[in-house]
């Protein structure tokens, strides 16, 4: 966990006071909505279909049990008893009242949580691998650098009015769990030929109306140069990014229109001028940030304790362990992913009661720490393997032991037309129906790893372009229709999916997805070939033929 200092606390508290005054002036009519809108957006407050929506940042996906309890408190006191974890390590409350928002913010500030820059045309929450600091084989903990970027970008005066929003993601593992290639800047920590640690910098990724996979602009940037290099990128974007057309304002469009080589030249020229200036990061600064991260006092434990050996005879436990428990850098420990995708449930939602109970379990079994992943699941990052059977029973009691992590019913979905003012079609009911269709765990395990991502509009909050199966809601003559793509992925081999056929109406979506999965089972080379690899090997056509021939 990162420990905030006095400066951080003061910043957050001042922001709450400032926003309290702004809300007061808005409610009295002193500020018009036009004047207030940007102020509320900079504090994560949107207006959705039924109410205001309040988006709270969970920087690099790390939460303490105390913070999770406070999120539960906000859900219970100011909202309707639940929150929605998003694809960018935020939590959203859907029913908040503007008049009560300053109090909610003040309560969150008590535990070092805020909503600054979770909206607006500025740098958004810096996201990272939810297994940061515990993943085996990791170069180093990427949260150190996430925190440096968080501090650098928070209220940065030059980058508070960018052409459009700007998103960073960082990973330090070979396997990308942070979807860095669909971010404005993706950073991959790695070692160069000399054994030095630095960053591969990728730029111009993003989904939405015009999706692009990020391109590598520099294969290696030393840590000491990280801030000056990203500042050079953002300066070029700030200068040349389009402000006349919201649909062409993201950096991905600039990179695409200039070409990566030309864009890189502009960045190099800017960097040359600022590289050795105030943004050069001394080791001492990095070490100071590093020193404020605390790590658990792990015990020396056996990899295969008796408790685990005995529990292995229980098929239900084994079914859960196989899909939810992952290797840890420390022998005798495990990372446990908690599915927020129960059968028939809205993806990513957790009730206040679940959050409270999970906070207690985190204290008991995970050194008081919880992680949030972009797949809209949670994780306990430091669980002793001997505790897994007991933890499983406790998670099952609170509905957080659905054994479907990474399987077909572990669906990413945006709130869609049930909540969102931008949506064209519903996402959640489609996800719910699919979880029911694929609720048989044996079938789901037979299918294997398969990510279905659903967005209710072209803005792509559900990351449909990079779902192994992507579902996009569109409107046709007042009716909900859904375009379906296959072959996308958001990992280190990130790729955009391809349309498999014409859009289908709401009532047919689940049938089509079932047919696509059946086609995969018939077409795959062997049971180990993942869905996405079958699509890569075969292309879309064999799937189209099987799924659409009779439609």
């Amino acid at each position: 966990m990162y420990a905030y200092d006095e400066l951080d606390r003061t910043l957050i508290n001042e922001r709450v006071s400032e926003f309290r005054d702004q809300v007061k002036r808005r409610l009295s009519g002193e500020l018009t909505e036009d004047e207030f809108k940007m102020l509320r957006l900079q504090n994560g407050v949107y207006l959705q279909l039924h109410a205001y929506m309040f988006r709270v940042a969970i920087p690099y996906g790390t939460l303490s049990s105390r913070q999770l309890r406070q999120l539960a408190h906000v859900a219970r006191r100011y909202d309707r008893g639940y929150g929605h974890f998003t694809t960018r390590q935020n939590i959203q409350f859907n029913w908040i009242k503007l008049a009560e928002l300053p109090d909610a913010l003040a309560d969150l500030a008590e535990v070092g949580i805020h909503a600054m820059q979770t909206s607006g045309n500025n740098t958004r929450n810096v996201t990272s691998d939810q297994w940061a600091g515990v993943a085996p084989g990791e170069i180093e903990d990427p949260r150190i650098w996430s925190e440096i970027l968080r501090q650098y970008t928070t209220l940065h005066p030059e980058f508070s009015f960018l052409p459009r929003k700007f998103k960073f993601a960082i990973t330090a593992s070979a396997h990308d769990r942070a979807a860095i290639k669909i971010h404005d800047i993706g950073l991959r920590l790695h070692k160069n030929a000399q054994g030095e640690t630095g960053f591969e910098v990728m730029v111009g990724g993003g989904l939405g109306r015009t999706p692009f996979i990020a391109k590598t602009i520099r294969p290696f940037v030393h840590g000491s140069d990280l801030l000056s290099y990203v500042e050079a990128i953002m300066r070029v974007y700030n200068q040349y990014g389009r402000r006349d057309n919201i649909y062409k304002a993201r950096i991905k469009i600039l990179v695409h229109e200039l070409g990566i080589e030309r864009f890189a030249q502009e960045v190099e020229e800017e960097w040359r001028q600022i590289r050795d200036g105030a943004l050069k990061l001394d080791d001492s600064v990095v070490e100071e940030i590093r020193s404020r991260f605390t790590y658990p006092a792990y015990e020396k434990l056996a990899h295969m304790p008796d408790e685990l050996r005995k529990a292995a005879h229980d098929p239900h436990f084994e079914g859960w362990r196989r899909n939810s428990v992952f290797p840890h850098k420390m022998t005798g420990y495990a990372i446990v992913t908690l599915s927020l995708k129960p059968v028939g449930g809205p993806p990513g939602d957790a009730t206040a009661d679940q959050m409270d109970a999970l906070a207690d379990l985190a204290d008991k079994y995970s050194f008081g720490e919880i992680r949030v992943g972009h797949e809209q699941n949670l994780a306990l990052p430091h669980v002793a393997r001997r505790d897994l059977p007991t933890l499983w029973k406790a998670l099952d009691k609170i509905g957080l032991a659905t054994p479907n992590v990474n399987l077909v019913s572990d669906i990413i979905a945006c709130p869609g037309l049930d909540y969102c003012s931008l949506a064209n079609a519903r996402s959640i009911p489609i996800a719910q129906e699919l979880t029911r269709r694929f609720s048989n765990h044996d079938t789901a395990n037979l299918i294997g790893r398969l990510h279905i991502n659903i967005s209710g509009c072209i803005n792509a909050c559900g990351h449909h372009h990079v779902g192994h199966i992507g579902i996009l809601g569109v409107e046709k003559n007042g009716e909900e229709f859904y375009q379906i793509t296959i072959g996308g992925r958001a990992d280190e081999n990130a790729q955009l999916g391809s349309l498999v056929g014409p859009a289908v109406p709401y009532a047919e979506v689940a049938d089509v997805i079932e047919d696509i999965v059946e086609a995969y089972l018939a077409l795959r080379a062997n049971p180990d070939e993942l869905f996405v690899d079958s699509v890569k090997r075969l292309g879309v056509e064999p799937f189209r033929e099987r799924v659409y021939a009779t439609r």
């Binding site: 808005r26 207006l47 039924h50 205001y52 908040i96 037309l417």
Partner: protein, 105 residues
């Protein structure tokens, strides 16, 4: 359901209302004939011409302490005068989400 957030040209083809979200708490409201706001669609002022819609919208937008994001939405007026939302988006805004909430009220 195309988002009506950017209504530049006002042209209605059937009965319509002005809807918005109440400023202090965000709930869905409808402009009433008495130049106020109501949470009930049944209380909404109905307009049937583009000129009337334009006037009702202008008056609604001017009251931004009361409600925000005002726009014109289609409705159906059934036999007997019952007013129903004219599309799925408005149906969801009027009746609430189409899914069960994780915590029942």
């Amino acid at each position: 359901m195309t988002s009506p957030l950017e209504q530049k040209k006002i042209k209605i083809t059937g009965p319509s209302v002005v809807t918005a979200n109440r400023t202090w708490d965000g709930i869905v409201v409808y402009r009433t004939p008495e130049q106020g706001w109501s949470a009930k669609l049944a209380d909404a002022a109905i307009v049937r011409t583009s000129d009337d819609a334009r006037v009702l919208l202008a008056e609604s937008v001017a009251d931004d302490v009361g409600a925000i994001g005002a726009y014109i939405a289609p409705v159906e007026v059934r036999d007997g005068g019952a007013i129903k939302p004219g599309n799925l988006r408005e149906q969801i805004r009027s009746a609430g989400v189409t899914i069960g909430l994780p915590v029942q009220a």
